[in-house]
């Protein structure tokens, strides 16, 4: 009896061993993806968390689909807290210790300017999904983004507003200590000048400010037809709300930067957000099968709605996966980079997606207006 038991155990062990060797024969090649998104640190975390979620969702989907054969995507998330010093440390760690094949992020443009040169030097491709200031891909030929810069979307928005409401004067308010917002301000100003709209007031604020009443009182006195805000979602929400509370009426139209698009905006600003207008590469009801699948999967997994940056982070993973397939491996980083650069009309959740020669995204921008607390596509 004892002997029979032993034989049985032995045969089980052998069988287990056999199946183990069988599995290792079909070894998966892990492809490490560094996800550098702020999940703490105020405003930045608003965008970072959703991008991390969306990227992880896309990685799961790609792995489950089996479209990459033996390659298995492994996402490694690190929180930089929206602090560029941290971004630099994390880039170094992910590149030198984790040996990632690609970096997704970082959340903020200021972090990108600090950390991307490290990846460029190490020849590790970076695909950002929320850096929208000018010049980010100019850091080097390994730096890409799926987030369209403000200069690609704002002129379209302003043209729409001009056609519909023919405004004569504008006021600007923007975050002076944020590279992205300073850049957005310049883009807004250029577009306003180009449309011949007179700028009657220019005000600034700083990160962490909560009271904008002094600036808005000055703007109110200038009585502009439109107010252009260069701020992140949470700042923009408060500026819009305080502007309306100070009695800047609905005759003053409020336009925002691309970076202000977040489901949080309407939630924080409440009724004051009505009519807030902004340009985007994406919106949640965007009628496209890939997008519908993305939104449904995101809702199911995270119990909340994704925002534009989340959509772009999701796109980034698919852009990378398609490039990885074309490159056929990760050993040659130059080949991988070239494959990413060659992305053309990829059927993605934000519509047909390509990179131009400057590694900027080529997409069709859309004009969005907040209606009943939700971003909706503007009607002509």
């Amino acid at each position: 009896m004892k002997r029979a038991m032993f034989t049985l155990l032995l045969s089980v062990a052998v069988a287990a061993g056999a199946s183990m060797t069988e599995r290792s024969a079909r070894a998966e090649t892990p492809v490490k993806i560094g996800i550098v998104q702020a999940t703490s640190g105020g405003s930045a975390a608003l965008y970072g968390l959703m991008q991390k979620n969306a990227a992880e969702l896309a990685i799961e989907e790609v792995n489950a689909s089996g479209s990459l054969g033996d390659f298995k995507l492994v996402g490694i998330h690190q929180d930089d807290g929206g602090d560029r010093g941290q971004s630099v440390n994390i880039f170094q760690r992910l590149i030198n210790q984790e040996k990632v094949s690609v970096l997704l992020g970082p959340t903020l443009t200021t972090s990108a300017f600090a950390a991307d040169p490290i990846a460029q030097k190490a020849q590790v491709p970076v695909i950002a999904s929320s850096n929208t200031a000018p010049g980010v891909p100019d850091i080097g030929d390994y730096i890409f983004r799926t987030s369209p810069p403000e200069s690609m979307v704002f002129p379209g928005v302003l043209a729409y507003v001009k056609k519909k409401f023919s405004p004569k004067s504008a006021a600007q308010i923007y975050g002076i200590d944020d590279a992205l917002m300073k850049a957005a301000y310049a883009v807004h100003k250029k577009a306003l000048d180009a449309e011949g709209i007179k700028i009657v007031a220019t005000e600034t604020f700083q990160k962490g400010d909560v009271d904008y009443s002094a600036q808005l009182t000055k703007i109110k006195a200038a009585n502009p037809d439109i107010l252009v805000i260069g701020g992140l979602a949470e700042e923009t929400a408060n500026i819009v709300r305080q502007a309306r509370q100070l009695g800047i009426g609905p005759s003053t139209m409020v336009l925002g930067a691309n970076a202000a698009i977040s489901t949080k905006l309407a939630e924080l600003a409440g009724a004051a957000a009505e009519g807030f207008t902004v340009g985007s590469s994406w919106f949640i009801q965007f009628d496209n099968p890939k997008n519908k699948a993305f939104v449904a999967a995101y809702r199911k997994k995270y119990n909340s709605d994704p925002d534009t940056f989340a959509a772009q982070a999701y796109t980034s993973v698919y852009v990378f996966a398609a490039a990885l397939k074309r490159a056929g491996g990760i050993s040659d980083s130059k080949k991988l980079r070239d494959a990413i650069a060659e992305t053309k009309d990829l059927d993605s959740n934000i519509g047909p997606f390509s990179f131009d020669a400057n590694r900027e995204p080529v997409i069709v921008p859309k004009v969005l207006i907040v209606k009943d607390g939700k971003f909706t596509l503007a009607t002509d």
Binding site: T39, S40, G41, G42, S43, A45, L46, L49, I176, E203, T204, F205, Q206, G208, D209, V210, D211, S213, A214, Q215, T217, K218, K220, A221, E234, A237, N238, R241, Q242, Q245, L246, G247, K264, E267, L268, G270, A271
Partner: protein, 294 residues
């Protein structure tokens, strides 16, 4: 003219939240002579206590009471866990500073875990949208209410300090701990009570500011701590009326530097002016230190 008056309203409204917070700071820093870097964390904690209470459907005055008591309890815990322990072991003042800094960081970390890092707002209500327009000056009902609440809190604190036995005990401890012990004042309990008062004021101002500006986040206390320190230096350490006046003054200085100079220089002018005031009057604008000699 209406723009000028509007800016005055803006400044007073901002200043009222500074004043309430600074009163708590001056009790701890000035009266007890303790450097407590967790004061901003009590402020943040109070805002969340109030927020959770409001979300549970409690009416605003009760939610404010929850914020007050919640902040006060945090203050007492800080004293029991950090300052009393350090005092008992003969720790240097600077150790309290570092320990309270650590406590503040921990509280921010806990808030991040419990409430998330995203900015939250108080539940919407029609009350928040009521505003009057008098001669082109727009005043929100909320601003008026917050100003009244601030003034009431200030009066209550003044009464407590001047007219109650605990207030007398606080003033005696502030004058000299050893003397207090000799005349039979329970020093430990008095300090605990002071921490409760300071925490409660911080918690209340957290809820007021959270309501006024619609921002509740784990990080809201950090900037406020700097403002609070500025105000008490401006008003004179340990001087409660000075803290109140300093709070309103800082609010007005900030608003007017935006209004008449440039919004880019808001902090540079605000703090620059304070620097100048200190050079001219190093003990603060309103300092008489009479409370310490009481």
């Amino acid at each position: 003219m209406s723009t000028f008056l509007q800016q005055v309203v803006n400044g007073i409204s901002l200043g009222s939240t500074y004043a309430v917070f600074a009163m708590g700071c001056t009790l701890i820093f000035g009266v007890l002579n303790i450097v407590n870097m967790a004061q901003g964390a009590f402020f943040m904690g109070g805002a969340y206590f109030g927020l959770e209470a409001a979300r549970m459907g409690l009416p605003a005055p009760l939610a404010l009471l929850v914020a007050l008591i919640g902040g006060g309890v945090l203050g007492m815990l800080a004293d029991l866990v950090v300052f009393r322990t350090l005092r008992a072991r003969g720790g240097h003042r600077w150790m309290g500073l570092v320990a309270s800094l650590a406590l503040a960081r921990m509280m921010v970390g806990i808030a991040q875990e419990v409430f998330g890092t995203q900015v939250q707002r108080y539940p919407q209500s029609t009350f928040l949208d009521v505003a009057f327009e008098i001669g082109g000056v727009r005043i929100q009902l909320l601003q008026v209410v917050i100003l009244i609440v601030s003034v009431v809190l200030m009066a209550l604190l003044a009464l407590t300090l001047q007219r109650t036995s605990i207030g007398r005990a606080i003033r005696t401890v502030a004058f000299n701990e050893d003397v207090a012990r000799i005349v039979g004042v329970p020093v430990g309990r008095t300090m605990l009570a002071t921490f409760f008062l300071a925490g409660a004021l911080a918690g209340a101002s957290g809820m007021l500011l959270g309501n006024l500006f619609n921002v509740v986040s784990p990080f809201m206390g950090e900037q406020m701590l700097v403002k609070g320190l500025t105000v008490i230096i401006l008003g004179g350490l340990g001087n409660v009326p000075g803290a109140v006046a300093g709070g309103f003054l800082l609010g007005l200085i900030e608003v007017f530097s935006v209004a008449y100079v440039s919004s880019s220089f808001r902090d540079a002018i605000g703090f620059g002016l304070i620097f100048l005031i200190l050079l001219v009057k190093p003990t603060g604008l309103f300092s008489r230190f009479e409370e310490r000699q009481a």
